[in-house]
Amino acid sequence: MTDAHRAIDAVWKLEAAKIIGGLTRMVHDVGLAEELAQDALVAALEQWPRSGVPDNPGAWLMAIAKRRAVDHIRREKLADSKQAELARDYDEKEQPQDDDVLRLMFITCDPVLPARDRAALTLRLLGGLSAAEIARALLTTELNVTQRIAVAKRTLAARERSPSADIPAVLEVIYLIFNEGYSATSGDDLMRPGLCLEALRLGRMLATLAPTEAEVHGLVALMEIQASRQAARTGPNGEPIQLHEQDRGRWDPVLIRRGFTAMLRARDIGGTPGPYVLQAAIAICHAQARTSDDTDWARIANLYTALDRLLPTPVVRLNRAVAVGKAQGPQAGLALVDSLVGNSALRDYHLLPSVRGDLLEQVGRHDEARLEYERAASLTRNAAERAFLLRRASSIVLVTSGPTLGEAAREFLERSDLDTATLRSYGQTVRRLCRALGEQLPLASLTADQVARVFAAAWPGAAARTWNRHRSAIRSFAAWASVPDLDSGLDRRAEPPARQDALDPLRLDLVWSLDAALRERTLWRLLHESGAAVTTVLSLNVEDIDVEDRRARAGDTWVTWRSETAKLLVRLTDGRARGPVFLADRRPVPARMPAPQDICPETGRGRLSYPRAEYLFKQATRALDPAGNGYTLTQLRSSERP
């Protein structure tokens, strides 16, 4: 970047929220507002290197962008005289309005968008971050961020109602951004301080816009105090240092003071404390303790009890157990933690076994403690934390005899008498068992009761078919390992016919606008237009296609389609006379050579498999799915036909 670029970028980050907020009020479309703002940035890039940065660069950018917005509204011509009137209005109202930025926050935090997209869009439009910066912050690619933001803007533009976000929704997004930076869920670093700073800035911005909301000040206080521990939270090699072992002299007094100030504001507003105020109060208890022994654990335990009533999440319960363990002794804490084992929301949460291990170690149950640390290590995705947990585990010496669960599982999955698909399916089940119980568990001590608890925690809402698949894997493993009756706590479930939700027209439109490869677009269109089964469509051959009549013979039925598929199909099969319509990306390896009818005679590539096609569709649609899972091909084919 040139100096001018960098200067403009710094101005932009400070002014983006106000400018885009003001423009959104004018044009009622955040996507368009951002484009207009970008135009103004281009103008700045042309003029500032010559004329110098203006005294009030924000106002300068806003003036240019507004002129473009008025031009745009006029150009659209919207013969509608009301629009023209609006445009005239804006000419006069040069001043940005205070509510603009708050309204923009309500738009970018709209729950219609998946949570991560809300975070990305907020960083983009309110923090002024570039796609590359957001990608670095959220550990993804720039392309991914660009696509997500584009989809998010389109979703917002297509939405007919006004934004449904409110202050709590905005707080959720800000805290999500903060936590992504503060306790990085993946990657090699425990923290990404830049992201914490962005969240703090957003929180402070919101505090000036909504000064009478106690929860806003509560969240700011919480973030300031958590951030104050940044320097003390990691050791020289990036390993985490627990709160009670941190060097409190390294806590940042500036941030602590700000946290206290924000908390005082929240208290002055009064009312029943909400979840953020309570969490901030807990953080303040820690900040006030000169040494960890001075911590007022009884007060913290009480605050957690109050928080548990408002926010009865397993994570809050777990923290409450920690506080109770400190206030009333490890045995009391352990009793609370044990009540959480088997809770499905915590099944992959590494802090549960980590906390439990710590309490077990304190009450002298060393063997169990070690297993819990190892399990915690296998669950965390953060490298520094994993190393730390493994060190704690290895500091406890364990005596075992006979094979461990991990060894038995590996041997079981290396059998040569089963086909790959079966082994892959068994692997899912057996590996889940290892993750839940710990690889070091002696096989001889494995009980049906433990297996039943793992199932209840891992697959509580699983479809009957999935449940039964896992169940038969356990039966097979038990028979092979000669540990009888491991499945005695698992009932076989009746399997109802499968049924999945179709995609609504808005989602479908977004699917069609995805930037996907020709093969994918053809397959998706064909599935949607024909409504035929996925296996049937994938089994089609080029020679079966009747271009003229837009249909193909598949066994004893016909698959038919319409114009969109027809256009794509011609291009996809161009130059091919025979062989599978949908081809895999690579040629098959000799060891897994498919049947001759599944190989393209011209390219030697195999037929596209259902799992692969399903995977690609899910990946491509993940950003569209509010649940973040992506859609299935079955959902696509069962959607209403055009």
């Binding site: 710094a10 660069p57 703090l200 911005m205 500036v254």
Partner: protein, 108 residues
Amino acid sequence: MRYLMMTMRDDSQATPDEKMFAEMGKFVAELSAAGILVASGGLDPAGVEMTYTDGEITVTDGPYAEAKETVGGFALVDVRDQDELNEVARRFFAITGNGVSRVHQVFG
């Protein structure tokens, strides 16, 4: 990233008028609300010099350097990066007029 900005005393500068006070007040309020301005203050031109030699502290009046060699005020700022620092400084000088600031990054 935190930086300590020390603005050098400059007697040739215009004495601040009401307008400058108002603008500076607004600027300070904005920067504080954003968390950018951590602390700031003006310094008494009359200072003392402390010297520590072999366990003994000596305090002397002074130093009496040239006026423009002394620090008139300071600001501790918390910014995203150096580019933001430049922008903050530019806005500061846009209010106070010509001047010199010494800036050091603060570690720890």
